[in-house]
Symmetry: C2
Subunit: 121 residues, 2 copies
DNA sequence: CGGTATCCTATTAGATACTG
DNA sequence: CAGTATCTAATAGGATACCG
């Protein structure tokens, strides 16, 4: 097989899951636009809970895709931004996302055709 | 916000989840290499259960990314292959996957650094 | 503000058995 | 061969409360 990601034990599988997972993709997408604080991100990533955003950011930070800058002030201020690697990955992710969005009409029509044939299960 | 996928209600979100989900990505990757029968795919997509492969293939077929050819023979023979749209999407997905794989060293080092600082939670 | 901890529910995935 | 049906286990996710 050409790519080891196709094996369950491959370490890059978990990275890929962080990147493409529901909140991972949305978070990378949001950070693609700039640097944001925790609660700014929460507002940009529609529907994310504190828990999931926190978890997602930790995973991406650990993978080296996101950089966390905490200022020891009171009240605390923490800024999140993509690392260079994170930016490169986000770029490719966005290419995929934009493409899928652009072809959503085609997908919708395929779905209608499928449902018409199979009886809209 | 630049892309509607960032909204929970966007229809392209579900397409994207089929594409990037664990088994969706692996299945598209496998089909990227050619046309395969159900059990051939099962062997190529390491660890997938009959149920999940079936489910995944139905979703991708419904989205118009995979074409299913069933010959009414006995025993039955069913071939799966990517549609032109599926191929274009798989192409972009593979670009992302390959990139993540290529940089896995960098990711691994970032993880070690993170774990060393934070105590390997 | 920027989180963590806890609890609880919903969804997903896997194992197994069965069918045309 | 190519699946479906059913049941159970694991995991993701949400609500809430609380802390530095």
């Amino acid at each position: 097989m050409a790519y080891d990601v196709f094996s369950r034990q491959c370490p890059s599988r978990s990275t890929l899951e962080h990147v493409t997972g529901r909140w991972g993709a949305l978070t990378l997408g949001a950070l693609h636009d700039g640097t944001f604080r925790f609660n700014e991100l929460r507002r940009r990533v529609d529907g994310v809970s504190e828990k999931m955003l926190s978890q997602t950011l930790h995973a991406l930070e650990r993978d080296g895709l996101v950089r966390r800058d905490a200022q020891p002030t009171n009240p605390p201020r923490v800024d999140y931004q993509l690392t260079p690697l994170g930016r490169e990955i986000a770029e490719r992710l966005m290419t995929l996302i934009r493409f899928v969005e652009d072809r959503q009409d085609e997908v919708g029509k395929a779905q209608e055709r499928y449902d018409a044939t199979r009886g809209a299960l």
